[in-house]
């Protein structure tokens, strides 16, 4: 196989991304969840930088830098602050048991690979096989959002989903226009702030961040 070295690195980053998505799915502790998210951001910025190097698109370097700043440094720092203020360093409970979730995750990966197969044949970049992996990590993060019963892991899942989308964009189309990227980054940041405020309110109302308590809002 004569794939150039940069493509191999990007493939490797894709694999590590999927690995981290699986690891987040099976994590039980919030601290390690946030650390995994930071690692995911690091891998993402590395792969963006490599894509930038191999395709000579300088705006991707800025993308990589922005990702590094935001997803590796700023957002995890905010999340650490949040969990320290909310005092929730305990274990994360899941709705089903972990092996079942992993099996569903595997099925989702298979589905995503199949979905991406015709599209990746049309894409003209050097990294077409990574589209399937990117979609798989998006679906896995979505699964993580569904199967957690506390609020902070759901937020981390949402952020991880955005990571996956970003990776899909860089691998298939050499990144999005800079404006779109800045816009998304700003949205994510603002969303974090708002969610943080909401967490406090939920805590005040229910005295716990367990989302099962939200069911009390139902008209019964």
């Amino acid at each position: 196989m004569n794939i150039p070295f940069t493509a191999q690195i990007i493939n490797m980053c894709a694999a590590v991304l999927l690995l981290i998505a699986f690891a987040m799915l099976s994590q039980r502790r919030i601290l390690s969840l946030i650390n995994l998210f930071a690692m995911q951001g690091l891998v993402l910025s590395l792969s963006t930088a490599v894509v930038a190097y191999s395709s000579n698109q300088t705006h991707l370097y800025y993308s990589a830098g922005l990702t590094l700043l935001l997803k590796v440094l700023l957002l995890p720092w905010i999340l650490h602050l949040l969990i320290r203020k909310l005092n929730i360093k305990w274990d994360v409970e899941t709705m089903f048991n972990i092996p079942t979730i992993m099996l569903i995750g595997l099925a989702l990966v298979v589905f995503a690979f199949n979905l991406a197969a015709p599209i990746s044949q049309m894409a003209g970049t050097i990294t077409k096989s990574t589209l399937g992996i990117a979609m798989a990590s998006v679906l896995l993060s979505f699964l993580m959002m569904i199967t957690r019963s506390k609020a902070v892991p759901q937020v981390v899942g949402f952020l991880a989903m955005e990571n996956g989308l970003f990776f899909a964009a860089t691998s298939a189309t050499y990144g999005m226009p800079m404006v779109v990227e800045l816009g998304i980054a700003l949205d994510v940041l603002v969303g974090m702030f708002i969610l943080g405020i909401f967490f406090f309110q939920i805590r005040v109302a229910f005295d716990s961040l367990d989302l099962k308590h939200m069911e009390k809002l139902k008209e019964d």
Binding site: T100, V110, F113, N114, A117
Partner: protein, 669 residues
């Protein structure tokens, strides 16, 4: 090889069938226990040997015969080609050991029970032989039904117990539902010609819709006999209820008649197959295998455990069939031959392995009177020879090298691995997932066998009476020794067996492994190419034995071999009763905990306030509630509705006759 006598293999086989029938009738008429066990059963064993040899002869040459029995325009057609011969070899060689075992096992039974048993046993074997040789639908159905009936009577030998009766009824019911499906598939296959011989069916071309209908009906019908999900409910009831030689015969051989049926219909009678049949068979086989092994891990009755293990092995065989269908359909015939070889090898292996274990449980039942694992234990001290024979069987079923179970699993895994890209994307994905499920089932069967062997033979006896039991009798041991020898031969010399199986694969998928398998001599099995895969079981066995022997001799020479006995260490705890070992439930508890959602587990746990705490847990088959109960209720509802036809009033009955007469007259017009 019978040419010197001027006999065709089929003549020998028919002679064996006739002899069996006569032996059975003789047994019934004689009503003498001693004569039956000392003359008739050994004679039956000799006939089995003759049948096996006839089968070997029949592999290379096809012979046909027509008997003047049967319907006026449809005499019995018989045919012994490579496929039939292979299964006749299976029947013949496995039943030698079972018949010899029965000589010792039935020794102390009542005269009339033994008489009936002899008749039913030999009719059973004769019917199975006829199923393998039948070349037209009528003979096939006649022998199929005889097989079902005789095995029903065999299963209900101890009909005084209600659960035996219930098991027999369930067995007969599902067997007949299957038989109807098989009959319907034959009906579709004859394609309107009205001629029910297999030869016509071979040359009839069916549209893909009807061909699929045939395949599905055959899969359902033969699957009901084989114990494929969801028609498996009779297996865990019927196999334990029957006497042990009968369980061995049913589990080892009768289930394979269904496999024979599926192979015959899919590859021989239908001229074109579709790939999705293979996918269906593969998926069904995997689900069956996993189901069987999960449930086997949580059983507390030793014969039920073996019954579920049979379900697992049938699932594995079906996986092989599915794989063969897929490869054959995509014209990858070398791989189809590999998959088919693996399937047939596994069927042959299972006949010996499972029979060995069932026969062993018969000896245990005879000696201890217990079937529950929780009442056995430590039998290796009082029944050492039986323990050694059963160890071989347990290791073989667990699929451990260098015995035979490993060879067929190895071949099947090679078929999975060597498969190149298949056209459909989803099919491509199927290969790693199916391989993963298969190795999972294989690993868990190791767990099941450690549980089975460990709780029965090892540890301390859980009951007082177990200290005074006798070992298996001489005939029982001889019967089991036949099986053990077969296991070793099949495990250590696979190349010779594959050469024989090649006749069958040549006939069904028009390709064989023989050329490539033996390219590097008979010691090494190289299915496709030596660089790609090779396995030398004899070398492996030799090296392990040599390693052990060298080590033990070296240690004894350079260091002393002093040994003394003392109480068990147990970390210094003084009290060790037999209640402190794992029970059968305990050993299966991790599996039950992991797969609780899959099985229906009913638990009764004590509260802290119970004065007499009691723990009880039962594992149910969920499919019973999901699948069988609704059918049963539907049946009852329909029955009630139809029952409304019966009023008891004569006028209405006369009205029925009158209306029917009018309708017929109008129809003729």
């Amino acid at each position: 090889m019978f040419d010197q006598f001027g006999l065709l293999p089929i003549d020998v086989a028919l002679g064996v069938v006739a002899t069996w029938l006569m032996l059975g009738i003789a047994g019934l008429l004689l009503q003498n226990n001693r004569l039956a066990t000392q003359i008739i059963f050994p004679a039956g064993a000799v006939c089995s040997l003759a049948l096996a040899l006839a089968g070997v002869g029949g592999l290379s040459e096809t012979s046909v015969a027509i008997l003047p029995l049967g319907l006026p325009d449809l005499p019995f057609h018989l045919r012994m080609d490579a496929l039939s011969s292979f299964f006749l070899i299976l029947l013949g060689s496995a039943s030698i050991g079972i018949s010899l075992f029965s000589v010792g096992y039935f020794r102390n039974m009542a005269n009339d029970t033994v008489a009936l048993l002899t008749l039913e046993y030999h009719v059973f074997m004769a019917a199975m032989a006829l199923v393998f040789m039948a070349d037209d639908a009528y003979l096939f159905m006649v022998s199929w039904e005889s097989m079902a009936l005789s095995s029903y009577f065999l299963v209900t030998t101890n009909h005084e117990q209600p659960e035996v009766r219930r098991a027999g009824f369930l067995y007969l019911l599902i067997a007949h539902v299957g038989a109807i499906a098989i009959l319907m598939s034959f009906g579709v296959m004859q394609g309107g010609h009205g001629d029910y011989t297999f030869n016509t069916m071979r040359h009839t071309h069916l549209s893909s819709f009807w061909a699929s209908a045939t395949f599905l009906l055959a899969l359902f019908g033969f699957g009901a006999k084989a114990g494929i999900l969801p028609m498996h409910a009779w297996l865990p009831e019927a196999h334990p209820a029957a006497p042990s030689p009968v369980s061995a015969m049913m589990s080892g051989i009768m289930l394979k008649t269904a496999i024979y049926g599926i192979l015959r219909v899919s590859f021989d009678l239908l001229d074109a197959q579709m790939w999705w049949w293979g996918v269906l068979a593969l998926a069904l086989g995997l689900i069956t295998a996993l189901f069987g092994v999960f449930f086997a891990a949580v059983q507390v009755d030793m014969k039920r455990l073996l019954a579920y293990s049979s379900i697992e092995n049938i699932g594995i065989i079906l996986v092989g069939i599915g794989l063969t269908l897929i490869f054959h359909n995509f014209q990858k015939d070398a791989l189809a031959a590999l998959a088919l070889t693996a399937t047939l090898y596994h069927a042959l292996n299972h006949a010996f392995m499972k029979s060995l274990l069932f026969l062993g449980t018969g000896s245990i039942l005879h000696a201890t009177g217990e079937r529950q694992l929780g009442k056995l234990g430590g039998l290796i001290h009082t029944m050492p020879k039986l323990a050694l024979l059963m160890l071989v069987g347990a290791l073989a079923i667990a699929g451990l090298p260098p015995l035979n179970g490993f060879v067929s699993e190895w071949l099947l895994l090679q078929a999975f691995l060597l498969s190149p890209g298949l056209p459909h994307a989803y099919l491509n994905m199927l290969v790693p997932i199916a391989a993963a499920a298969l190795v999972l089932a294989a690993a868990l069967s190791g767990y099941v066998m450690v549980k089975f062997y460990g709780i029965i033979f090892l540890g301390q006896p859980r009951e007082e009476k177990l200290l005074h039991v006798h070992d298996a009798g001489i005939w029982e041991r001889i019967g089991m020794l036949c099986m053990v020898v077969a296991c070793f031969v099949l495990g250590l010399f696979p190349t010779f067996i594959i050469l024989q199986i090649d006749f069958v694969t040549e006939m069904l998928v028009h390709h064989s492994l023989g050329g490539s398998a033996l390219k590097h001599g008979w010691l090494l099995l190289t299915p496709i190419q030596a660089e790609r895969a090779s396995y030398g079981p004899l070398i492996l066995f030799f090296i392990i034995v040599a390693g052990g022997v060298i080590t033990s001799l070296t240690v004894k020479k350079y260091y002393h071999g002093r040994l003394r006995r003392g109480p068990a260490w147990d970390c210094g705890y003084p009290e060790q009763t037999s209640r402190m070992q794992d029970t059968a439930e305990g050993f299966g508890q991790p599996i039950r905990k992991i797969f609780e959602w899959f099985m229906g587990v009913v638990k009764q746990v004590p509260t802290p306030f119970d004065t007499h705490p009691h723990f009880h847990s039962e594992t149910h088959d969920r499919l019973w509630n999901l699948f069988y109960e609704p059918i049963k209720q539907l049946n009852e509802i329909i029955g009630i509705q139809v029952g409304k036809l019966q009023h008891g009033r004569i006028h209405i009955y006369l009205l029925y006759s009158f209306v029917t007469l009018l309708a017929l007259l109008a129809f003729i017009q």
